[in-house]
Symmetry: C2
Subunit: 231 residues, 2 copies
Amino acid sequence: MNAASVRSRVRAELVDEIKEAARRQLAIEGAAALSLRAVAREMGMVSSAVYRYFPSRDDLLTALIVDAYNAMGERVEEAESAVRRTDYRGRWMAVCHAVRDWARASPHEYGLVFGTPVPKYAAPADTIPPAMRVTVVLVQIVADAVRAGVLVADREPIPKAVRADLAPIRVFFAERGGIVDDDLIVRSIMAWTHIYGAISFELFGHRVGMVSKHDGFFDHEMRRMAAFVGL
Amino acid sequence: MNAASVRSRVRAELVDEIKEAARRQLAIEGAAALSLRAVAREMGMVSSAVYRYFPSRDDLLTALIVDAYNAMGERVEEAESAVRRTDYRGRWMAVCHAVRDWARASPHEYGLVFGTPVPKYAAPADTIPPAMRVTVVLVQIVADAVRAGVLVADREPIPKAVRADLAPIRVFFAERGGIVDDDLIVRSIMAWTHIYGAISFELFGHRVGMVSKHDGFFDHEMRRMAAFVGL
DNA sequence: AGAAAATCAAGAGCAGTGCTCTCGAAATGT
DNA sequence: ACATTTCGAGAGCACTGCTCTTGATTTTCT
């Protein structure tokens, strides 16, 4: 049985090596060009051998997606935790910049998780928790700020069609210690939407002709959105 | 020479038919699965014949991208022009909804232009004017509102690193009759960013668990952003 | 310790892809 | 009427994802 773990350990190592090689290939050519045969070749294996570890190319991609989410989440958590706890706006900005920095450092991985859904898209359940990590951090900041009573913004009326939708999110905030009003939830979702929009616009080349100094613009717009949220 | 135009006419028709078939295939399977051989098959041609009309698969894709931009632009212009000229906020909202409606009706085409850049991305010059159509409409609305003096918003200070970037856009507004301040430019870009972010989030499935009544939420957030711009 | 079962790398093979080249036939220009 | 361009078809290359079989090794059970 210890022997069994020998096999499973070397197997886990192989899985990691394959993902490593795939990631390398991904960084060079992008997701569309990721070829199982090529990663096999790079590892001195024959292609059919790789299928012992990943039943299909899409499964390999899914594994890379999970890893990408986790890498992003890790960076974000790391950056956010380095900021003084009561500096809510600073924590928020740290998250914004961490996401963007990671995206610029690993554009293809960013495209993998936030770009066009590559296969027909059936987000497997195991991608959901990693995908939530950034969201959780943002929610925690808002919840903390609310509890500290430092969050201020005009409360706008919400159409009841929207209001009905927000109940699960309200408990999501509440679980993290923040009793939030519906409008704050809306503003938070909008801010997260904007972070994603800004980074994708930049990375996918949709801001050529509009913005050239991306660093400065991003920082400024994120600051504006933080204010919009009320931080 | 009239005979010459016979040939060139049938050629143009063939080009259109190929694009048509490709679009059909695109709608079903998505861009990644678009196969030149399959469209050839559907047209009763042999694959090499298609290469007389499109030198490569990427060129076909580029043509589809241009068409997609134009389709979106057309829908937007149409919807916007149906609104009373002095109803600036209404015009803005019409654009927002037109973009989203088009995106939901043709998700794969939307993904083609706004998703992960499929090839290594070298946006050919002929994609730029079609890509600008929506932007132009939005700018025109803001310019009109400014000229009418109905646009109000707090003017926030802009870091000078950003300010330097904005000169070309300022003339872009001015050419359309609107003398705008830098902060308004920033707000406009942010709003366009948000439109894109919201639609992509919805279409690419990144709002599951956050929003389920997308129609209502989108309308509400667009209204908020219109107010943010000052409309 | 020896037999049975699971696991593995490798190879061959299938169906599909993008793309190139060559070859006749047809349309076009002179 | 002749020369030139334009076109469709076919064969072929190198590549892809994926399946199946084979023979060897390793693990597990008895």
